[in-house]
């Protein structure tokens, strides 16, 4: 082996990693950049690909917010998320705690029954959900959609919280029990204060899934005024002759909350997804 080949090898070796990373990042960021540029074009401008606007037309955002109704859509999404996330986190925590530490009759079978839900796609339940919820007057309502989402998110949450409580030291629970603490007190006063990372991760995942949910609100909320933001976006896209800068601004408005939550809790989100969390 001669020294010139060695150096070229060393150079390519050192360059390969940054080049690969740069390519990946560019591939992710370029579509976002063209979205941002499109949102700043003058109202009604045609699609131009990757082109700088002649000025910064922020009025697209205010038009999307008020005239196109995305302010209202965003509010519906917030309401749904506020119903779904806390309720689902509490239910999953209680169940995960019981399955991990308490003497539950038929524990193995109950856990298996809950895990089955991990492979039920939304398509598997959406048809009767629509007809049955409509029959009891729950279509076009917050509780109808919220319950459907909680049910869909429950298997992962129980799996996640059970795994978390299984790793907590038994001695902690034994000590609490010897002190006469009930299972309820043990959970709330002793285990939960030490469970903040696991609970936060679950909450962040639930928020992102609830926000991004598309098929359930598309079917279960037929009233355009009560749609969630992504469902409204989908509806808006379907309309003919759409105003590109307006749609771009609306898209940015719809993704802003999840992106902000993600940037704030990115460590939690990534660790949750890497553990095998399936998009709800």
């Amino acid at each position: 082996m001669t020294s010139p080949t060695l150096t070229t090898r060393a150079v390519t070796g050192r360059l390969a990693a940054p080049v690969v990373l740069a390519l990946f990042m560019a591939a992710v960021l370029i579509p976002f950049a063209s979205l941002l540029l499109a949102a700043l074009q003058p109202a009604g401008a045609p699609l131009t690909g990757f082109a700088l606007p002649d000025g910064l037309h922020f009025e697209n955002f205010s038009r999307a917010w008020s005239a196109a109704g995305f302010g209202t859509l965003l509010r519906s999404s917030v309401v749904i998320a506020l119903c779904v996330v806390p309720a689902a986190v509490v239910c999953a925590t209680l169940a995960g705690y019981a399955l991990a530490t308490l003497d539950v009759p038929g524990r193995g079978r109950l856990y298996a029954y809950l895990l089955l839900g991990l492979s039920i796609p939304a398509e598997g339940t959406i048809i009767p959900l629509y007809y049955d919820l409509r029959a009891i007057g729950l279509t076009n309502t917050v509780p109808g959609l919220a319950l459907a989402e909680i049910a869909a998110f429950m298997p992962f949450g129980v799996f996640w919280m059970r795994a978390h409580f299984s790793t907590m030291p038994r001695s902690l629970m034994e000590a609490a029990r010897l002190d006469g603490a009930s299972s309820w007190v043990t959970l709330w006063r002793i285990l939960l204060p030490n469970s903040r990372p696991a609970v936060t991760t679950l909450g962040v995942l639930y928020f992102v899934w609830s926000w991004n949910q598309f098929l359930l609100p598309l079917i279960l909320i037929q009233d355009p005024a009560r749609r969630t933001a992504p469902a409204g976006l989908g509806f808006f896209t379907g309309q003919f002759g759409v105003d590109v800068p307006l749609l771009a601004a609306a898209t940015l408005i719809v993704i802003a909350p999840v992106v902000l939550v993600y940037l704030f809790f990115q460590r939690h989100f990534i660790s949750g997804v890497l553990s095998g969390a399936l998009k709800g």
Partner: protein
Amino acid sequence: MTTADRLTGPAPAPGAQSRVERGAGGTARKHPRPARSGRRRRRAVALLYLLPALLPYTLFAVLPLLHTAYLSLFDWDGVTLPSFVGLDNYGRIVTDPQLRAAAWHAGALILFFSVLPICLGLVSAAIVSRRAGRRGTTLVRTVLFLPQVIPLVAVGILWRWVYAEDGTLNQALRAIGLGGLTDAWLGSFTWALPAVGLIGSWVVSGLCMVLFLSGTQRIDPEIYEAARMDGAGPVREFTAITVPLLRPEFAVALSITVIAALSSFDLIYITTGGGPGNSTVVPGILIYRLAFGGGAVGVASALAIVLTVVISIAVLVINRLSREAP
């Protein structure tokens, strides 16, 4: 939460030494019950903890799934009285060309959602993990995960503009003198399916890469050093060490991406709606069309059941494979 008070009942350990409160909570009782009824009571309380999860899950996920299975045995337009047809709807899935096309497309999407991103993620993780420092890893992870975070509806809108006649892709092709290759990608019978598939690759490739990267960091560097001493090159290292040791990450990546491919709906609904013609139609789109517009609720239900069964089997097989010793 109203069940709180009921749940705070005592769970006295038989033979517990101290009944004195030590500040862990004010609910310690003075008189423990006999051990047997105490156990029974504890088990009943344990079930109460599960109830808030089991109830919505059963009512709004499991029962609807069973109801789907029931509906799949009927010919029903959603309005008039349904008539029982047995397994005829399942027979139609096998024979109807449109339904068969949907199955083929779902299979093709696995290539784009699973195979391509996993290969890409694996090779790039292997390349990146070989560099010494880990500067900027957080930034890289944050950016590469971004497509996972935003709703697929927004992803679809982003890519409609990339693929449009005057979109970014054609613009780039013209800029490098390949203007002859431009096309209305999503409107083309040839290119619509690969174009939609590549959006899926875009969504999950970063996830796969970060997943494998975190896996390679778990591998003991001494194994690589030993291999190098034995004269193994980068390719041999990759096939003999990296790939076999990343088995758990494979399982996670495969389950996530295969489910995403098989149950895809959002992306296709936004980008092509199944068109042009039926060239990008997938089970999710057909279920939507047949049940909520086509007046064929029974067939849609049968398709939904087949889809659920196929996904369950896929998840089962993937988990089985990942558990076997390498």
